[in-house]
């Protein structure tokens, strides 16, 4: 049982046994700051054994809602265990307070049932599979909706196309990305040339570094790196912008005003990226070649003149085309994934963060899958 000494030492309550009744005198501050101590002291009270409980308020210093609720709970538990309980010496204010908490006292809602570890694992796995399948369907259907909206805007209602918004997006995703895309491509050109020279020197074929740089940058790396940078940079910003609007019910407001969010939010972004990503790819190709050229000049003394000659011999327009033609497809993938994830934001700010991560991860993943598919396709048709 509660050691009466511990109770007395706390300065919060005092027990008095007196035959058929147990008197509890409340002392000090019965406030939320002392909640844990009070709960522990009350939890260790003796069992009723048919006795009467008297709770005496006369000596108390301060009570707040939590303190009053603890008193109320103690009395209620005592009664539930078959004893009588009475509260004495409470001022009219405390009576009101006790009334308030009595009204508010109700059983805490039951905790949800927990699964066993194995069942939980199966549960997670199942959810995951359904989720991935669901995700794929959604993406395909959203792509369809977007293409349909673009068709509508192109052929049926050209007046509804948001030109200003498209230009603003083009500025943000294209022009403003040039420094970072340019720098990365330039450095990649430098690295390939530097590493390539090392390897090719073993065969005395240093001069072929031009072919190496040209083919790898033009066919693959220029566009792929640009797409990855843009997925990280613009895909995430599409998701965050649209997601914040979704949280703020702006997207719902748009619908009620008869505006189609796909036409207003998605199409301008998709079109802007479709136009700008090929431009960025061309720019990236240029910067990559420039990096390779400078590096081979520095390490091998291949002058820009010679480099240009070798370049003309090494590549045809096809090499270049094979790289750039992928850009609009990557653009649609990145923009559609970014916008869809944005529109799927729900409820909390945490969801914006989660969706943004998803948008970047999925964007990059799909770009690489698509790139692999293109490689196979080009190999099959023999380009």
């Amino acid at each position: 049982m509660a050691s009466p000494t511990a109770a007395a030492a706390s300065g919060l309550l005092r027990f008095n046994e007196d035959g058929g009744r147990l008197r509890v005198e409340l002392l000090g501050r019965w406030v939320v700051a002392n909640a844990e101590v009070l709960d522990r002291l009350l939890g260790a009270m003796p069992a009723p054994d048919g006795r009467e409980l008297d709770i005496d308020f006369t000596a108390i210093e301060a009570v707040d809602t939590v303190g009053a609720w603890l008193v109320h709970r103690t009395a209620a538990r005592w009664q539930a265990a078959g004893g009588q309980a009475a509260i004495r010496g409470a001022s009219p204010e405390y009576e009101v307070l006790l009334g308030q908490v009595a009204k508010a006292d109700r059983p805490a809602p039951p905790r949800p049932k927990k699964l066993g570890p194995f069942a939980a694992m199966l549960d997670r796995l199942g959810r995951r599979v359904v989720y991935i399948w669901d995700d794929t369907l959604r993406l395909v259907s959203f792509l369809g909706e977007t293409v349909a909206a673009m068709g509508r805007l192109a052929f049926v209602h050209p007046g509804r196309f948001r030109l200003t918004s498209t230009f603003a997006q083009a500025q943000a995703v294209g022009i403003e990305a040039m420094p970072i895309v340019g720098l990365i491509s330039f450095l990649i050109g430098v690295v390939i040339s530097y590493q390539g020279v090392d390897q090719l020197a073993m065969f005395g074929a240093q001069i072929f570094v031009v072919n190496l740089v040209a083919i790898s940058v033009l066919r693959e790396l220029g566009i792929l790196l640009t797409a990855i940078v843009i997925a990280g940079r613009s895909g995430s910003s599409f998701t965050a912008q649209i997601g914040a609007m979704k949280l703020n019910e702006e997207v719902d407001a748009m619908r009620t005003l008869g505006l189609d969010p796909i036409e207003v939010l998605v199409v301008p972004r998709v079109v802007a990226l479709m136009v700008m990503l090929p431009c960025l790819a061309v720019f990236a190709d240029f910067m990559g070649l420039l990096g390779g050229m400078l590096m081979s000049w520095v390490t091998l003394g291949i002058s820009p003149d010679v480099f240009m000659n070798r370049l003309a011999a090494a590549v045809t327009w096809k090499t270049y085309f094979v790289g750039v033609v992928k850009a609009p497809f990557f653009a649609v993938t990145i923009a559609v994934v970014g916008c869809l994830e944005g529109l799927r934001v729900e409820g909390s700010s945490e969801s914006v963060g989660r969706r943004t991560t998803q948008s970047v991860v999925k964007g990059i993943f799909l770009v690489i899958v698509l790139d692999a598919a293109f490689s196979i396709f080009f190999a099959t048709i023999g380009i």
């Binding site: 939320v32 809602t65 939590v66 609720w69 204010e93 308030q100 059983p107 805490a108 409820g347 909390s348």
Partner: protein, 268 residues
């Protein structure tokens, strides 16, 4: 715990000046709030009521003036002491400002954990109590803010503001968006808690029923300062055209009539 004794104002504002760019919101604003009273701040939309509330609790640094709460200069308080002060007030923001990634119950537990270090079932039980006191159904505790109605968000915000049974509660338009029965119960709850727990209530409201039924004093914000402070009866005697319009307009009259009828019924 008291600093300054019983008649020292619990909040004391002197010469407050707030400006956003060239737009001056408050200038030479003075206000005293007494311990244990329910004081309402009224004023037209955009007169800076919310900004003043944010200024008092230190979320907005005024360009000039001094702010004393519990007799302490809030603007120049070291971090540790500021935390102690923050435990002694609770705030209900105009739009609830609930943490969207936490459930209602977890929202209420935040101050309990943060300031008191409570743990375990006690936390959940106290959260359930506060949810009930704020007039929310028990299921609401497990819901996320985005799953609540506007009025329920207000109540959840109040439950969080009252979590620590603070000495001052700041309420920004607590009854906006509540149904009239709910709003009346809300007013009653505030008044009861003030009488029992003894806190001070600083509320911003446009609800004339709240003003008529539970407020001890009303402060009118206008012309960038507090124009008058006084009881409802004082307000009725003012001659400033805006105040006359506010309290003698059709809505003002209706609220006062309703209160007179309620008082008469109580006397019978």
């Amino acid at each position: 715990m008291d600093s300054g004794g019983q008649d020292h104002p619990i909040i004391r504002l002197r010469g407050i000046r707030n400006a956003f760019g060239a737009q001056v919101i408050h200038d030479k604003l003075d206000l005293d709030v007494r311990r244990g009273e329910i004081i309402a701040l009224v004023g037209g939309s955009g007169t800076g009521k919310s900004v003043l509330l944010r200024t008092i609790v230190g979320l907005n640094r005024p360009a000039a003036g001094s702010i004393e709460v519990f007799g302490q200069d809030i603007m120049h308080l070291p971090k540790v002491e500021r935390r102690l002060v923050e435990q002694r007030w609770g705030i209900l923001f105009q739009n609830g400002a609930l943490f969207s990634s936490l459930t209602v119950a977890q929202n209420i537990q935040v101050p309990l954990k943060e300031h008191l270090g409570l743990k375990g079932p006690m936390l959940e039980e106290i959260a359930a109590l506060k949810i009930a006191l704020a007039g929310l159904p028990p299921e609401a505790g497990a819901k996320y803010p985005s799953e609540l109605s506007g009025g329920m968000k207000k109540r959840a915000g109040l439950a969080r503001a009252l979590a620590l049974d603070p000495e001052i509660v700041f309420l920004d338009e607590p009854t906006a968006g509540l149904d009239p029965i709910g709003a009346a119960a809300f007013d009653q709850l505030i008044a009861d808690l003030r009488d029992t727990v003894g806190f001070t209530v600083f509320l911003v409201t446009h609800d004339l029923d709240t003003l008529a039924t539970v407020c001890d004093r009303i402060a009118v914000l206008g012309e960038k300062r507090v124009m008058v402070v006084g009881t409802m009866n004082d307000m009725l005697e003012q001659t400033d055209p805006w105040i006359v319009e506010y309290f003698h307009g059709p809505r003002g009259r209706a609220a006062l009539d309703a209160k007179a009828r309620a008082d008469a019924r109580r006397r019978d």
